[in-house]
Structures are given as structure tokens and as C-alpha cells.
Amino acid sequence: MKIKKEVKRFGKQLFRACFVDDQFDQKKALSLIQSVIETKPRHFVPILTFFGKLVRLETEKRTATIETAAALDKGIEDRVRGEIKKRYPQVLRTQFQVKPDALGGMRIQVGSDVWDGTVRGKLDELKNTLS
């Protein structure tokens, strides 16, 4: 328990130190990781693992994933990108994925928020409602 608290605290400090002007600085993060590896403080492996988890969660928060049944043309992609940027200014990366089992429509996920307009999603909702 004591070890875990120290690991979390150090990991959070490391993570906060990677932000410059509220933006995550990748170069700074890499240099901090390198210096931790070189200096090898106590419990550095769990610290780096926890740090990696925080970076992953932060990346997920700033990534928008759009799933469609078929590939979208560039015009629609740009429009979707623009709308997402309006609602979620913190989003840095937008990725488009083709998932045939969606059948139709679009599913947008930004962090934990999901907007599911796929046919698959509606069929699942219908199944839950009728059952």
C-alpha cells in the first residue's frame, strides 16, 4: 500500500511535468522517461508503468475515433472533424476506422463519451427494449 502510494505520487508528478502551457509535450516526456531510466530511482519500473497508463488515458481523452461501415469521402471526413473540434476543443487526433459489422451509420467516441448512430447500435437497443 505504501509502495503504491509513492509510485502513484511520483508517476503523477512526472506526468504533470510533461505539460507545457497546458499542452502535453512529447519531447519533454521522452527526455523525462530517459532520465528516470538512467537515474533508476526506487520502484522506477512501476512508476514508469503508471506513467504510461496516465499517458494512455490522456491520449484517449484527446483522441476521437469515428467508426463507419464503409470508408467516408474526404469532404464528410473534414466536416466530421470540424464538428468534433467545435464540441471537443481538446481533441488533437481524429482517426477513422471502417467496421463492416456496424452495418450503417456512424459511431463517434471521444474519451468516455460515445455517440452511437450505427445500425448495429440501434438494433441492439431495439433488442434490449423488446426483451
Partner: protein, 511 residues
């Protein structure tokens, strides 16, 4: 067929077609009924979370990078990587009269095989107790049917009275006797058309008990005709710690429905020691800091918020009530342990059962010295107050003298007489299990004791005399008993008739 088609089309048309925003997360760890979830940024405390396969959980730990949730029901199908979503709802259970006579689990799902329950309403499992302004002081009695309790440790509607003692001392028996007596009183009032009588509905919450024990309790209630006035909430030993933790709250929600609708309910928590142990297990798996005896720091709050929901409401808020009989099992008679002292400080009195008394044959094994009801005679009918007022004091003096008499010294005639009288009172308070006495019989028997009709009877024959007196009154003086029940006090006329009846009986009684 065309109706069915219309129904389906109507259901489909009601479904919203626009995409709704959902808040999702991913299960990262699952063990022992607790899931650690990443994401769920908008989740609130105690919110229901939907897992794949129609399972639900409750979010209990909201941490910076993850959410700890306890899973309701079978957690063996849930695996790492499963996507979960918030529901925006609190956990609710079905409530209403439809649950009477049924055995349900923590979520209100029937277990008795008597078909689904079509309840008209649901209540949240976790609810803030009624505020001070809504309450009224306790003044209506709960007749347990156990003479020792109704005479010396009276319980009122809206009170919390703890039943505490070691294993196998008769704690559950006291609760079952109370439930049986309420059912009998409800039936009698319905048959006689007594509009002033307020029926009392019972809820028995079984936490961590053996299923065989629960089956026995159900059988006893069924045979006594009490099951149709009772809801049984079962979270037995083989159920998950989550279900055992939530069961008392679910039972309290069911009782609150009666209270909020102007009716009276009685809820038995059997037992809160196992409830605390289940909460300890859940908290330790959630990695919450542990305190004394490994219980989490808020174990007092666990029981205080549960028991505070038992109350008597004033007329403006429906005049309903919920009476709680929590049960605590002690180890080796230690009432100064952690959980027992917590619950003693919360409740409005305790009925303390001693193993020594039990094995001496004094059953119910109630320790009159250590038992107390903080509501007291405010919860007694006038007749009981008149007759039982001094009995506790007499018994206390008797116990003192009995200890002194053990030294074998010569005693004066008056002391001997007092000791014999005390012995008769102790004998009178012995009672068979699952045989509650109606209040009118209790009044008549106590009147006979206070007016020395038991004095010529040897101590070992006291129970026989009482049984025969009861039979005589029920067969030959039923109108007198009805009058006592109606007037609830021993006035001149009733006293005269009781004297006549006891004289007649005593003259015909042969030992």
C-alpha cells in the same frame, strides 16, 4: 395476432432514432465481484452501471484514473476488456403490497417459484432518512406476543430495538414470534371489523444465513399463517458479498413504501453482524483503507443510515411507521466489541439474551437487567402500564436476594415469600417458541399474578396454572378478553370481572 403486430409496431415507433450520448468505460480488472473500470468520466457515486449480458453494478469507488464497481448478480461472465456504460439511474427495487407473501432476492427478483411480481412502484435502495420535522414520537405499541418483552421492554411502532446475544440464544425466535403475532392480530382485526386497528406488515431480511435456516423460518411462518403478511428478502451465505451488503437496504426500501403510504411496517435484519462482515469484504476488495478489526472506517455510517430509516411519521406525512428489529450476534457474550457497541449506540434499546439463562431453562433467555427500551411505557397500552410497571423492579430485587440466599443463611418469612414470588414471576415469563400470547391474555395473566392468584401454586406448576387459566379465559370468558382488547385498560368493571373469573378458576383448579 393483429393486436400483437400493433404492439410491436408501437414499441418500435417509440424507440428514439437519434443518437444519444453515452458514457462508457472498459473493464480492466475483475475479481471477487468487484470490477475496476477505466473511463466512465461522468459516473456518479452509487450510479448503476450496465455490463454486457444485462448485468448491472454499482459504482462505489470514484478514483482519478479508474472506477471501482461492485457487480450485482453473477459476475463469472464479465471479463477484462468488456465495455460498460452508465445508466443515469440509482439502484431501485420493486415495492408494494404485491411483495407480501413472497420470497425475493436483494434486487426484488422472486425466488419462491410463484411467478413474477407485478409491482406498481420501485423505490431506491439508498435513500436519505426522513427529516426531524416529518417525525412524531413513538406512542403505538408493537405487541411481540412475548410476555417478558411486552411487560418489561416494550417496543413501539417506529422504534429500533436491538436483539443481541450469542449464537443459539433465541434471537431469531423472538423476531419470528413478533412476526407471527402481528399476522394474527392483523387477521383478528380484519375478521372482527376493527377499523381502529392499524395492520403491521413484516419484512424479514436474511443476511448471510444458511439456506436451510431460512427454509425453516419460511416453513414456520407459513404454518402459522404469517407468510401472507410478510416479505422475505434473502441474501444467504452462498450469495455474493454485494448482495448481502445491499439486502438490508432493499428491505428498508420495501418497508418505506408502507411507511410513506400511511401504513405500519416491521423489519427484521437477521443479522447485522454478517452484514458488517459482507461490507468489510466489499471494502477490502475495493482497496478502501481498513480500520479496527479490518472494518472500513464508515462501518458505523453503514448501520446508522440503515436504521435511521425506521421512523414514525407525523399525520401530515401519512402517520406511517417502520419499526426495526436488528439482530447482532456477539461472541462469548462480549457486548463491548466493535460492531455490537456501534449498533447499541444507534438503536433505541436492546434485548439482551444470555446463554447462561438459556441453559438454565429460562427461555426466552432475556436478561432483564441489561435489556432496556428507551421508549418505555409510552409504547404500552394502559393495561400493561398498570400491571407491569413494578415487575422489573421486583425482578431486580429478586435477583439480588437470590444471589444472597445462595450462601444458605436462614431467611425470614417475608424474604422467603418474596423469593418464591420472584421465582413464580420468572417461571411466568417462560414461554414456548412460536407461541406468542395475545395482549389480552397477557393482561389477564399479569393481573392474576399481581393479585396473588399464583401464590398458592408451587413454582414448578406455574406454567400449568397459566396454561389452564388461559384455556379457561379463552373458552369461558372470551367476551371479557374482547373487552380488555377493546378498552386497553383495566378499569373497575374489567377488574371486577377478572376477579370473578380468577376466583372461579382458582376454586376449580387442582394441582
Amino acid at each position: 395476432m393483429s393486436d400483437l403486430l400493433q404492439e410491436i409496431e408501437s414499441s418500435i415507433s417509440k424507440i428514439k432514432t437519434s443518437a444519444q450520448k453515452q458514457n462508457v468505460g472498459v473493464v480492466r480488472e475483475i475479481s471477487d465481484g468487484v470490477a475496476k473500470i477505466e473511463g466512465l468520466t461522468d459516473v456518479m457515486l452509487s450510479e448503476m452501471i450496465e455490463f454486457p449480458g444485462g448485468h448491472y453494478g454499482l459504482a462505489l469507488n470514484l478514483e482519478e484514473t479508474e472506477v471501482g464497481a461492485i457487480i450485482l448478480g453473477d459476475f463469472s461472465q464479465i471479463k477484462e476488456g468488456d465495455q460498460v456504460k452508465t445508466t443515469g439511474r440509482l439502484l431501485e427495487v420493486p415495492v408494494g403490497r404485491e411483495l407480501l407473501g413472497r420470497v425475493v432476492n436483494t434486487l426484488g427478483v422472486p425466488l419462491d417459484g410463484k411467478g413474477p411480481i407485478k409491482s406498481s412502484a420501485t423505490y431506491p435502495v439508498e435513500k436519505v432518512a426522513a427529516g426531524i420535522i416529518k417525525r412524531k414520537s413513538v406512542s403505538q405499541p408493537v405487541q411481540t406476543g412475548i410476555l417478558a418483552i411486552d411487560a418489561m421492554i416494550p417496543i413501539g411502532r417506529g422504534q429500533r430495538e436491538l436483539i443481541i446475544g450469542d449464537r443459539s440464544t433465541g434471537k431469531t425466535t423472538i423476531a419470528i414470534d413478533t412476526i407471527i403475532n402481528q399476522a394474527r392480530a392483523n387477521k383478528y382485526a380484519a375478521e372482527s371489523g376493527d377499523k381502529d386497528y392499524r395492520p403491521l406488515y413484516s419484512i424479514y431480511v436474511s443476511v448471510g444465513q444458511k439456506q436451510s435456516n431460512l427454509a425453516q423460518v419460511i416453513d414456520i411462518l407459513d404454518k402459522a399463517g404469517a407468510l401472507e403478511h410478510t416479505i422475505i428478502v434473502a441474501a444467504c451465505a452462498s450469495d455474493s458479498a454485494t448482495n448481502q451488503y445491499l439486502a438490508p437496504f432493499a428491505g428498508a426500501a420495501m418497508g418505506e413504501w408502507f411507511m410513506d403510504n400511511g401504513m405500519d411496517a416491521l423489519i427484521v435484519f437477521d443479522d447485522l453482524s454478517k452484514h458488517a462482515a459482507a461490507y468489510r469484504q466489499v471494502s477490502l476488495i475495493l482497496k478502501r483503507p481498513s480500520g479496527r478489526e479490518a472494518y472500513p472506517g464508515d462501518v458505523f455510517y453503514l448501520h446508522s443510515r440503515l436504521l435511521e430509516r425506521a421512523a414514525r411519521l407525523n399525520e401530515k406525512n401519512g402517520n406511517g411507521s417502520m419499526t426495526a428489529l436488528p439482530i447482532i450476534e456477539t461472541q462469548a457474550g462480549d457486548v463491548s466489541a466493535y460492531i455490537p457497541t456501534n449498533v447499541i449506540s444507534i438503536t433505541d434499546g436492546q434485548i439482551y439474551l444470555e446463554t447462561d439463562l438459556f441453559y438454565q431453562g429460562i427461555r426466552p433467555a432475556i436478561s432483564v437487567g441489561l435489556s432496556v427500551s428507551r421508549v418505555g411505557s409510552a409504547a404500552q397500552i394502559k393495561a400493561m402500564k398498570q400491571l407491569a410497571g413494578k415487575i422489573k423492579l421486583e425482578l431486580a430485587r429478586y435477583r439480588e436476594l437470590a444471589a444472597f440466599a445462595q450462601f444458605g443463611s436462614d431467611l425470614d418469612a417475608e424474604t422467603k415469600k418474596f423469593l418464591e414470588r420472584g421465582g413464580r414471576i420468572v417461571e411466568l415469563f417462560k414461554q414456548r417458541q412460536y407461541n406468542p400470547l395475545p395482549v389480552e391474555i397477557q393482561v389477564a395473566v399479569l393481573w392474576a399474578m399481581q393479585n396473588n392468584y399464583f401464590d398458592p401454586v408451587p413454582v414448578i406448576k406455574v406454567k400449568e396454572f397459566q396454561t389452564k387459566l388461559t384455556e379457561y379465559l379463552q373458552t369461558r370468558q372470551s367476551d371479557l378478553l374482547a373487552k380488555i382488547l377493546k378498552e386497553k385498560q383495566v378499569n373497575e368493571d374489567i377488574a371486577k370481572r377478572l376477579k370473578q373469573a380468577c376466583d372461579d378458576f382458582a376454586s376449580s383448579y387442582k394441582t
